[in-house]
Amino acid sequence: MSAHPIRLALGLVALMAVLFALSVLIGPARLGLPETLAALLLGQGEAATLVMREIRLPRALLAVMVGASLGLSGAAMQGYLRNPLAEPGLIGVSGAAALGAVIALQTGFAAAFVLALPLAALLGALGAVGLILVLAGPRGSSITLILAGIAISALAGAMTALVLNLSPNPFAANEIVFWTMGSLTDRSFTHVAIAAPFMLVGAVLLLSLGRGLDALTLGEDAAATLGISPDRMRLVLVTGVAASVGAATAVAGAIGFVGLVVPHILRHFVGARPSALLWASALGGAAMVLAADIAVRLIVPERDLKLGVVMALIGAPLFLHLIFRTRTEMR
C-alpha cells in the first residue's frame, strides 16, 4: 500500500528540481535557456544576471523554503493533534504574524527600511507563541492548545479588521489587503536571509519530533509509557511551528492550504507513518508552492495575481475531494 520511502523521496526531489528550474526560467523578461544559464552560473550579461540572481533565484528559493516550512509544520501539527484536519495556522501564529505586518503597513513603519515589514510580522508571531505557551501551559492537553490557538487567531483577526476599519489612508488599506493575500513577487536575498535562520531552527525542531509522533499513534497514555514526554513535545512543536510559519508569513504573507493538503495527499504514500510524513510533506510543500508560484506568472502575466489566492483556488477543491474520499474510508 505504501511506496518505497527512498523512491518517494527521489520522486519528490526530482519534482521539486524540475519545478525549481521552471521557476527560474519563467518571467516577464524573456530570456532564452542558454542566456539564463550563462547569467545564472557565469554572470554573463549584466541585465540578465541581475534578473536571474536578484529576482528569480531568490523568488524560487523562497518558494522552496516557504513551501517546505508550511508542509512540515502541517504534518507535525496533524501528527501531534492526531487529526488530519489540523493545519499550521491553528495555533494562531500566521494570524498574529499578519497582524504585525498589517500594523507595520498602517503606521508607515514598513516603509522605513526593507526588513521592517518581515520583522514586524516575526514580532507578531513571537507574541502569539508567548501567549499560547501561557494559555496552553506546560501541562495542558492538546485540546487546550487548539482552544488557545483559536482564541489567538480570532483576536489577531479582529485586530487586523480593526486596523483596516479605522485606516484613514485608503492606499495603506489597499496595500494591507494585497499583502494578506500572500505573494513571492519582488522578494530579494534579504528576505531569504531573514527567513532562513528561523526556518532552519523550526525544521530541526519539528524533524526531531518524528519518533514521538509515531508513538502518539497509540494515544497519549501509551506514548508516555513508551518514554515520550507529551509536555516536552508540545513545547518543541509550538516553538518549531511558530519559527517556521512565522518566518514564512513574514516573507510571503498568508498562504493557506499547503500545510493542510500536502500531508493529506502524501499520507497514503508513506504508509501513514507520522515520522515519514514529516520529510515527505516538506518536499511536497516545496513542490506545491513552486508550482503555484509558476501558475501565478503563467495564468495572467500582465496582472499581479496573488500566490495565496491561487493556492486557495487549487487547495480548496483538492481538499473537498480528499474529504469526499475519506468520508468513505472513515466509517
Binding site: 497514555d221 513508551l226 501513514a272 507513518r273
Partner: protein, 260 residues
C-alpha cells in the same frame, strides 16, 4: 530503602483525590517476577486510576517505584496497554507492533537486528503473520486488541500493565489472551491486569487484588479473595461457584438489594 531485584512494582501509600472524591486511598502492594495479578473491583473502584498513577501518568501522593523512574527507564521497566484501544493512523500491523521498540531507539536510528527479533517474536506469539501488511485501522476490534498486545510484548519490559485487555473479545480470544498473560508470568515476567470476568480471573491469575472505593480490600490467591462475603460487600452480587477439573467456575447470579 533496599531495592529488591525481584520486585517489578512497589506501591507505598498511593493516594489520589479528584476534588472532594478520594479516588485512591493508601494503596500499597508489590508485584514480583512470576506473578499474574488480576485487579478486580466494580466500576469506579479506581482500577484505571491506580494503573495510571502507578505509571506516573497521574499526579499522586505516596510512592510508586515506576513513577519514580525517568520516562526512558520506565519504558524499559513496564509496558502499558491502555483501556482505550487507540490506533490513530492507518499504519500497517507490522509498523504498529514496531512502535514497541521506540524506547530502544536513539533518535532517528533504524531498527536493529534485536529490534526485528522482538517484533517478529511478538507477531508470531499472537499469530499475526497473515495480517502483517494489513492496515491496522481496518481490522476488527478483536484483531486490533491482539495487535496492540503484540506491540506491548515487543517492548520486552519485565512488567506488563494492561487495563481491561480482554474486554470486548470473543470467548476464544479471551481465553487465549489470559493463557498468554499466565504464560508470560511463568516465563519470569509479571502481569498486572484489570478485568471483570471473575471466572477467568480465578482460573488464570496467581493472585487477585480487590479494589473498593479506592482501597485494597483483599489481596491474595483467588480463593481467598473471591469469597461470597467479599463479593456481596464489594460487588453487591451473589455468586454461584462450582469447582471443575479446569478450575473454579464463578457466575454472578443476582444483585443484592442492600448493596450500597
Amino acid at each position: 530503602m533496599t531495592r529488591d531485584a525481584d520486585n517489578l512494582l512497589r506501591l507505598d501509600g498511593l493516594s489520589l483525590r479528584h476534588g472532594a472524591h478520594q479516588v485512591l486511598d493508601q494503596v500499597s502492594f508489590t508485584i514480583g517476577r512470576g506473578e499474574c495479578v488480576g485487579l478486580i473491583g466494580p466500576n469506579g473502584a479506581g482500577k484505571t486510576t491506580l494503573m495510571r498513577a502507578a505509571l506516573g501518568l497521574e499526579r499522586h501522593l505516596g510512592h510508586s517505584s515506576l513513577a519514580a523512574l525517568a520516562p526512558a527507564a520506565r519504558a524499559r521497566a513496564a509496558a502499558f496497554l491502555p483501556q482505550a484501544r487507540q490506533i490513530v493512523w492507518p499504519v500497517s500491523v507490522e509498523s504498529l507492533v514496531a512502535l514497541g521498540r521506540v524506547p530502544y531507539l536513539p533518535r532517528g536510528a533504524r531498527l536493529q537486528a534485536s529490534d526485528h527479533a522482538a517484533i517478529e517474536a511478538a507477531i508470531d506469539r499472537l499469530a499475526l503473520g497473515p495480517y502483517r501488511t494489513r492496515d491496522a485501522t481496518a481490522l476488527s476490534g478483536g484483531e486490533q486488541a491482539r495487535v496492540l498486545i503484540a506491540r506491548a510484548l515487543a517492548q520486552q519490559a519485565p512488567l506488563l500493565i494492561a487495563d481491561e485487555p480482554i474486554a470486548g473479545l470473543d470467548p476464544a480470544h479471551q481465553i487465549a489472551a489470559m493463557q498468554l498473560f499466565a504464560a508470560l508470568a511463568r516465563e519470569n515476567h509479571a502481569v498486572l491486569l484489570s478485568l471483570h470476568d471473575l471466572g477467568l480471573a480465578a482460573r488464570y491469575c496467581t493472585r487477585l487484588i480487590m479494589l473498593h472505593q479506592g482501597r485494597v480490600v483483599a489481596d491474595g490467591p483467588p480463593d481467598a479473595v473471591l469469597t461470597p462475603a467479599l463479593m456481596a460487600q464489594v460487588f453487591g452480587v451473589s455468586v454461584w461457584r462450582m469447582d471443575t477439573e479446569q478450575g473454579p467456575l464463578l457466575v454472578p447470579m443476582d444483585v443484592l438489594r442492600d448493596a450500597g
